[in-house]
Amino acid sequence: MDEPTTRDLFPGSLEMMILETLRRQPMHGYALAETIRRASNDLLQVEEGTLYPALLRMLKAGWVSAEWGVSARNRRVRIYRISAAGRKQLEREVSAFERMLEGFRRVMGTQS
């Protein structure tokens, strides 16, 4: 049975996913978790216990900003928005990730 994996794939992957999701649209914590779950076809499930510390860490780093808003279900929620610094960070992370993936692919390719 396919248990949704909660393992952090590699350091920084969660932040990358959050930033990428927020880049498309500002949203609140629950929506963020749901979006990631749905986008990964239920393969990735973000635990709340990981999500919020990560969000606040990013808030502290200045990658995202937050303000109170209203959810689709009309509830008062905190909505996170990616900042200019966050966009830059995302670019950096993505390119670093792609380089890594490239190397990874080559290693795996030579073995097959």
């Binding site: 629950y30 709340e48 919020y52 990560a54 860490r57 808030l59 959810s71 008062r76 905190r78």
Partner: protein
């Protein structure tokens, strides 16, 4: 800052955000078809521990330290509020300790340490003259200043300043006595003090002797006088002001903080120094006359750091030699030039950045002694609070053990306890500051007041605030660290179950007892000091003065403002004497050149006594007092031999003298001197001794017997008679108005100031009184604190031992045994403390020797009294808990366990 605030807001609302998340999730689950209860359960199960997540999130946001500190503070306030008795005692004893320190510090700072509010005060130096005796005196004659100013090659600008008094004749001023400064034109320039409004005095302003400068006679006002007389109206500039009969144009106002160079005095007006002959008429101090030289100006300048002082000193010394040479007789000139006779005085440089003060010389040492005493009081207060904290820590052992057990780090708990201490000490410091402001004023009030009020700014300035803050924090660490360390020791708090074990408890008690012993030892020092100072004051109060202190009024008289010439003085003095004698209630009156118990003395020399050979090197000076016929009656000095003066004495051709017994002892080997003649210089037998009177104290009550010769004042005219001694029938103070009227009826501008002899004597004992009263107060405070300390330890001990005492009583001990047991324990503490303290006091008190009179530093009576009184206090402190222990009911006590 904005970001910080935003983060703080986010921290606070994390829980709210997580709840919203849960709600969203539950709603989503319900939308997928689950019933509400199950949806809620599942959401929560999947979510996990909300609290933990919130905590994790917060710590990832940072700010943990600030948050913890806020929590610590909140917790500390809650704990302190919960035990109001402990908090009150601790804060009050700290407030008294810190407040006393702040008060003495602010006084010392204002008087001794603080720099003048001028530019680069460290560069300011004053020229002084040191004689063979080594004592430097600051004032010089004006001609010497001019020579230095115009011809020095090393220091550039030199400024001079001298004081004078004046009567304020402006409307509404009540002819108040005021102080003014006569300053050189470059004074403000050298000090680097700008005018608040208008301009400062300049070099031109003192360029014309007796007239001022091109703009005529000008003046600069002090800020205080400007505020009082002109209500800070800038229109004061250009107006005229009358100073001792001279009209001056106001050109500027000095800045508020500037008070001249005399600490403790605050001149109201600054005038160019060349106006001196006008405002101090008829005296002209700008020139030297014949052989007399009046030294009245302080000379100072700036020596930049790169200029060596020796260069300046040599330069000024060279000019001083030149000056001294012009004033020598031909023989001395020759001797000096041939190098056989060096100058009797040499020039020294003294730092002037702290200004000058006579009070400083008199009070800096006593204040330093008091500083040590208040520091000891603070130490006692600290140990008291430390003890209370220790006892509390033992009581709170369970709470602390729980906190350590559920995972708080030792450092975390330590910090919590320290925060509590600091909250206590800062509260004590704040209260202490109020106490210091109040008691500081009281202290300044205790300092001697002249005819012009003492101006000493001891308000809590940044230096004082910094001192108080530092002392408070150090205090908090001092009394907080040890108990906190102990309380968080793993061994002390490791066992939740056996939190009443004896090991930890006993060692806690031991530390508490040790602290009390130290506290008592410290209290011994204070009590010994207080005993010595109080004894000194009592000795001085009862020392035979040689005159009768009661019923005497001393007048200070100055006839200068009446515009008399020297030749008129004798007539004026005669008139004043007659008018004073005619006042009802006056039994005897005499004018004199000086009052009783006044500083300074007039001397003449070289004196010759028949048949007495002075040892070589003796300067052969004989102190003298000029008096009227009734002087000895007025002062109450008993006649021993011969006669006193009559109104027929005083003719310059038949010179007579009355001498005191010390003259007879010293120069006549105790033989009867009546009819003997002595004299000065070239006429060795011009004066006949007609009487002998008892020795008296002339300058102050500590004085050893000194020779004194009295002359009828008409014999020495023209000379100034600055005092009158008036003996009255009843209360002398009641006559002062009538006497003042009698004097001013001769001329309305004659200056007169009346004081009773007793208050004059009190004034001469200010130092001793200050030390005696304050050390007495501090000693009492120390006793009180020691009492609280012992009481605390004993009461705590009794509470701890309730069950033990219960067992003892169940086994047949009677209340008396219990009382004896507890009191014995407190006495044991007392004896240990005293045994520790007495040797220290024996050693420490030697530093007070110079302040004592008629009592030795290790006076056994004082030391024994200090010990006994502490013993008594301890017995008393032990008694209360003891009697409480005696009333323990065995059955309740045993259940107590």
């Amino acid at each position: 800052m904005k970001r910080l605030l935003e983060r703080l807001r986010i921290r606070r609302s994390i829980s709210e955000e997580l709840e919203a998340h849960l709600e969203e999730k539950t709603a989503a689950l319900m939308e997928s078809g689950l019933p509400e209860a199950e949806a809620r359960l599942r959401a929560r199960r999947e979510f996990g521990n909300v609290m933990l997540i919130a905590e994790d999130s917060r710590s990832s946001l940072g700010w943990a330290r600030v948050e913890n500190l806020v929590m610590d503070l909140r917790y500390a306030f809650r704990m302190l509020r919960r035990s109001p008795a402990f908090t009150t005692v601790a804060v009050l004893s700290l407030a008294l300790g810190i407040g006393a320190n702040t008060a003495i510090f602010s006084l010392l700072d204002a008087l001794v340490w603080k720099m003048l509010p001028v530019a680069n005060p460290h560069e300011l130096w004053a020229a002084g003259r040191a004689g063979t005796s080594g004592k430097a005196s600051d004032p010089h004659s004006y001609p010497l200043y001019v020579l230095w100013r115009d011809q020095n090659r090393s220091i550039g600008s030199l400024a001079a300043a001298g004081s004078f008094t004046w009567r304020d004749t402006s409307a509404g001023s009540n002819r108040a006595a005021r102080v003014g400064q006569l300053v050189s034109g470059n004074y403000f320039d050298v000090l680097g003090v700008p005018a608040l409004i208008g301009r400062c005095l300049t070099r031109e302003d003192d360029s014309i002797e007796g007239a001022g400068g091109p703009q005529g006679a000008v003046a600069m006002l002090s800020y205080r006088y400007w505020s009082g007389a002109f209500h800070r109206d800038p229109a004061a500039l250009g107006q005229s002001i009358n100073v001792n009969g001279v009209w001056l144009t106001i050109v500027g106002v000095a800045p508020p903080e500037f008070f001249g160079i005399q600490v403790g005095s605050s001149p109201d007006i600054f005038l160019p120094i060349t106006l001196q002959p006008l405002v101090m008429a008829p005296e002209n101090l700008l020139h030297n006359y014949r052989n007399s030289e009046t030294t009245w100006v302080t000379v100072m300048g700036r020596i930049p750091r790169n200029v060596p002082q020796t260069e300046v000193r040599n330069d000024l010394t060279r000019l001083y030699a030149q000056y001294a040479l012009t004033r020598m007789n031909p023989a001395d000139q020759r001797a000096f030039q041939s190098g056989t006779k060096p100058l009797s005085e040499h020039i020294v440089l003294e730092p002037a950045g702290r200004g000058f003060s006579q009070l400083r010389e008199r009070f800096s040492q006593p204040l330093q002694v008091l500083m040590v005493l208040v520091a000891i009081v603070l130490l006692i207060a600290c140990s008291n609070v430390a003890n209370l904290m220790l006892a509390r820590a033992n009581v709170r052992q369970r709470e602390i053990a729980v906190r350590l057990a559920i995972g708080a780090g030792r450092f975390r708990v330590l910090r919590q306890l320290l925060v509590e201490s600091l909250v206590l000490s800062l509260a004590g410091g704040t209260l202490g500051l109020l106490f210091a402001v109040w008691s500081g004023r009281l202290l300044v009030g205790m300092l001697p007041q002249g005819p012009v009020p003492l101006m000493l700014d001891i308000g809590p300035d940044p230096r004082v605030l910094g001192f108080t803050l530092t002392v408070s924090l150090l205090t908090g660490l001092l009394f907080g660290l040890a108990p906190a360390w102990r309380a968080t020791r793993p061994a002390a708090s490791g066992d939740l179950n056996h939190q009443r074990t004896h090991g930890a408890k006993q060692s806690g008690m031991r530390t508490g007892r040790a602290v009390v012993v130290v506290e008592l030892a410290l209290a011994v020092q204070l009590l010994a000091g207080a005993g010595l100072f109080i004894g000194t004051l009592r000795n001085l109060d009862s020392v035979p003065a040689g005159f009768k202190r009661e019923h005497v009024l001393q007048l200070r008289i100055n006839v200068d403002a009446g515009g008399y010439s020297r030749s008129q003085w004798a007539t004026v003095y005669q008139q004043i004497g007659e008018r004073l004698a005619a006042v009802p209630g006056v039994t005897a009156v005499s004018l004199a050149n000086r009052g009783l118990i006044e500083a300074g003395v007039t001397r003449s020399g070289p004196v010759h006594f028949p048949g007495y050979l002075f040892p070589p090197g003796d300067n052969r000076q004989l102190p003298e007092t000029y008096i009227g016929p009734d002087y000895f009656d007025a002062a109450g000095i008993p006649l021993r031999m011969g006669r006193t003066f009559t109104s027929r004495d005083g003719s310059p051709s038949m010179q007579v003298a009355v001498v005191n017994e010390e003259v007879v002892r010293r120069y006549f080997a105790g033989r009867n001197p009546i009819g003997q003649r002595y004299g000065f210089g070239d006429s060795p037998d011009q004066i006949e001794i007609v009487g002998v009177v008892a020795d008296a104290k002339y300058n102050d009550l500590r004085q050893e017997a000194t020779p004194m010769a009295y002359y009828p004042w008409p014999q020495v005219m023209p000379a100034r008679l600055n005092a009158a001694v008036v003996r009255t029938q009843g209360d002398p103070a009641a006559l002062s108005a009538a006497l003042r009227r009698a004097v001013t009826s001769v001329h309305p501008d004659i200056f007169i100031d009346a004081r009773t002899l007793t208050s004059q004597i009190e004034g001469s004992l200010v130092r001793e009184r200050l030390l005696a009263h304050l050390s007495g107060f501090l000693g009492a405070l120390a006793m009180l604190l020691a009492w609280v300390g012992i009481y605390g330890v004993m009461a705590y001990g009794v509470a701890r031992r309730t069950s033990e005492i219960g067992v003892r009583m169940a086994l047949g001990a009677v209340p008396r045994d219990v009382v004896r047991m507890v009191v014995r324990e407190s006495l044991l503490l007392a004896v240990s403390g005293i045994a520790l303290g007495l040797p220290v006091a024996f050693w420490l008190t030697r530093f007070t020797r110079s302040f004592l009179f008629g009592i030795e530093p290790n006076d056994p009576v004082v030391l024994v009294a200090a010990g006994t009184s502490l013993l008594l206090v301890c017995a008393l402190a032990g008694w209360l808990p003891a009697s409480r222990a005696a009333h323990i009911d065995p059955t309740t006590a045993l259940r107590y366990e």
